[in-house]
């Protein structure tokens, strides 16, 4: 049943995407590990980790597209779920440091020793176990999304109001995680990681494995999201996006459907955050910054909302552009460029890069058939 669910109505777009992602999962680590450093096809470790980061963002973008593109829930707080997943992974990595910290305390992370704490707070219990930490990567963002969505969707908060409270949610978490007494390392966050599952996080082999894992999780996240949107539930969710009250009059409990996709999406964002942290080597409260969540919305809009593949593409393209931009003399203008890009895309490419490219492709192949004009979905 699960396979049928994941593979139903496979189309070319999805097939190409999966082939690329799984191809990267295999070829990039092989090239990094086996080819000599001078070779033209060799991928340096730093590049591999950078692209690993982009692919984590791609998974985050897919999770946002699931709620925004298909269900019309414009979450301006998805960065919160990403960061929570990241913190759960970070807590595991902190516990792996053991007595190798600056203060050499076998139990307490350095920042707790520094704060004169005597024992591990209860909410850190269990994080030395990898399976437990992975469970928390899913559970913490999922539970927060569930509780938040339960209240918001049942009270029928929609549109701009919902966007504002999601933004408030991530802002509140930003403030909370900044506090030292919360027990998450305050301002500095969690860093100086040593091992993951017994392997040195800095080692080339570990980085290659993390990259592969990111590709695999991106593919899995994509398959799940795609399975959902092409199912009948996906059709209900699109119906909710376009005519919420009509859907209710057909007998669908709109709040439950929204709650389902919102929770799944938050878990997915959490996984993206968990893969991100060992690759960048740090998680701190700035990941909760409202601007991060807004940037994610821009990636999805740029790539093509409501296409999943487009969201992933947008995340990679925009972040690649960001890296290029911010490493040159243009660095101070990046935010203007990003804002400009958003405006240009919204005005001239309402279907994003992917939608526009596919329309052009279709026209080139069949010049006699005009592409079906599809009005842009409401909000």
């Amino acid at each position: 049943m699960i396979t049928r669910f994941l593979l139903q109505n496979m189309d070319r777009r999805a097939g190409v995407f999966l082939a690329i992602v799984l191809g990267l999962a295999l070829l990039v680590p092989l090239s990094n590990l086996l080819l000599p450093a001078g070779s033209f096809l060799h991928v340096p470790t730093s590049t591999m980790s950078l692209w690993g980061k982009y692919l984590c963002y791609a998974l985050l973008a897919i999770s946002l597209d699931l709620v925004w593109g298909y269900c019309g829930i414009l979450s301006l707080g998805h960065g919160a779920f990403f960061a929570l997943g990241g913190y759960a992974m970070g807590m595991y990595l902190m516990r792996q440091i053991g007595s190798r910290g600056v203060y050499g305390n076998p139990i307490l992370p350095d920042f707790m020793v520094f704060l004169n704490w005597q024992e591990l707070p209860w909410y850190w219990w269990g994080f030395s176990s990898f399976p437990f930490a992975m469970l928390m990567v899913l559970l913490v963002p999922g539970l927060l999304a569930f509780v938040f969505g339960w209240f918001a969707f049942r009270s029928r908060v929609t549109g701009v109001y919902l966007s504002i409270i999601t933004q408030a949610l991530t802002y509140a978490l930003l403030l909370a995680f900044f506090r030292n007494d919360m027990g998450f390392g305050g301002n500095n966050g969690l860093t100086d990681f040593k091992d993951i599952l017994g392997f040195n996080v800095q080692a080339q082999g570990t980085r290659a494995a993390l990259f592969s894992m990111t590709c695999v999780m991106l593919a899995a996240g994509f398959l799940i999201a795609r399975g959902i949107v092409v199912s009948k539930l996906g059709k209900v969710v699109i119906a909710i996006r376009d005519a919420e009250s009509r859907t209710r009059f057909l007998g669908y409990r709109v709040d439950r459907f929204k709650l389902f996709v919102f929770t799944v999406s938050a878990c997915m964002a959490g996984v993206a955050g968990a893969l991100y942290v060992p690759q960048v080597g740090i998680i701190n409260p700035s990941e909760f910054a409202p601007a991060n969540s807004i940037e994610t919305v821009i990636w999805v809009a740029v790539g093509g909302r409501g296409t999943l593949v487009g969201a992933a593409l947008g995340a990679v393209v925009v972040n690649w552009a960001k890296t290029v931009f911010t490493s040159g003399f243009m660095a101070p203008y990046w935010l203007f460029a990003l804002g400009g890009l958003f405006v240009v895309v919204t005005l001239f490419l309402p279907k994003g890069i992917l939608g526009t490219a596919e329309a052009l492709w279709a026209r080139r192949r069949k010049p006699e058939v005009a592409p079906a004009a599809e009005p842009a979905p409401a909000e």
């Binding site: 199912s231 005519a243 057909l250 709109v254 459907f257």
Partner: protein, 254 residues
């Protein structure tokens, strides 16, 4: 003037008594009483703003009445339920402004309406079985949209959307259908076809039809209720209410 007779509650499918609702002090419905028998088709007419659509809003849970009784099947208090629960009881609705899912194909619109369990789990792992596909095909045939099944509903004309919405009602297979202005925006030919279709549907469903087109109402040939300023002005066969002085004054005469 239309005080319900004793026993009307238990013998009726839909029972409204003394229902009032106001919006910002404006009484859109005042003391409305109405009963629909099982299997009955009823036509509702009345001037713009009489409260016809608001009455449907009350029955389907979109609007909560300030006072009054709204019972379904003699036992279920509709004022206590929300839209989805009421829909699942078996009350379907076609809106005055046709509302279909523009980004779904015509076939998917029917599929979404098709009578089935509406839970998250059931829809996530849904597979359309043979009999269900046959039902969808039949409905597409009845509303004459079979050849357009793969087109997006948003591309349909106003009249075709009306038919698609009637098709969705059929797919829901409700006990009671509330049909708000089904002939609006249709040509005379389409209007006549719609009347035929509704009469067919009425053979095994209870139906309330709101319409301004008197030719259409005459075609249906059923009991008529005239609403005016939120309450019932007259009730009876069309010829009888058309002869009513007050009805002519407020509605037909204009």
């Amino acid at each position: 003037m239309n005080a319900p007779v004793p026993g009307a509650l238990t013998s009726s499918l839909l029972y409204l008594d003394g229902v009032s609702v106001s919006f910002d002090g404006f009484k859109a419905i005042r003391g409305l009483s109405l009963t629909i028998a099982p299997g009955e088709m009823r036509a509702i007419i009345g001037p713009n703003g009489a409260g016809k659509t608001t009455m449907m809003d009350i029955i389907t849970g979109k609007t909560k009445p300030d006072v009054g009784t709204v019972m379904f099947g003699g036992t279920v208090d509709l004022t206590k339920l929300d839209e989805a629960a009421i829909a699942n009881l078996g009350i379907g609705r076609k809106f005055q402004k046709p509302t279909v899912f523009d980004f779904h194909t015509i076939e998917d619109n029917i599929l979404l309406a098709l009578k089935s369990k509406r839970t998250v789990g059931k829809t996530l792992f849904w597979k359309t079985e043979g009999p269900q596909q046959k039902r969808i095909d039949d409905i597409l045939g009845i509303v004459k949209l079979a050849d357009k099944r793969d087109r997006l509903a948003g591309s349909l004309s106003h009249g075709q959307k009306q038919w698609l919405e009637i098709g969705m009602l059929l797919a829901q297979d409700p006990k009671l259908l509330l049909v708000d202005e089904p002939a609006a925006g249709m040509t005379d030919g389409e209007t006549a076809q719609t009347a035929v279709l509704l009469k067919e549907i009425a053979q095994d469903h209870s139906v309330i039809v709101v319409e301004h087109d008197m030719g259409f109402i005459r075609e249906l040939g059923v009991k008529v209720t005239v609403l005016h300023e939120g309450s019932v002005l007259a009730e009876g066969p069309l010829d009888q209410v058309s002869a009513n002085e007050r009805v002519v004054e407020v509605y037909l005469g204009r």
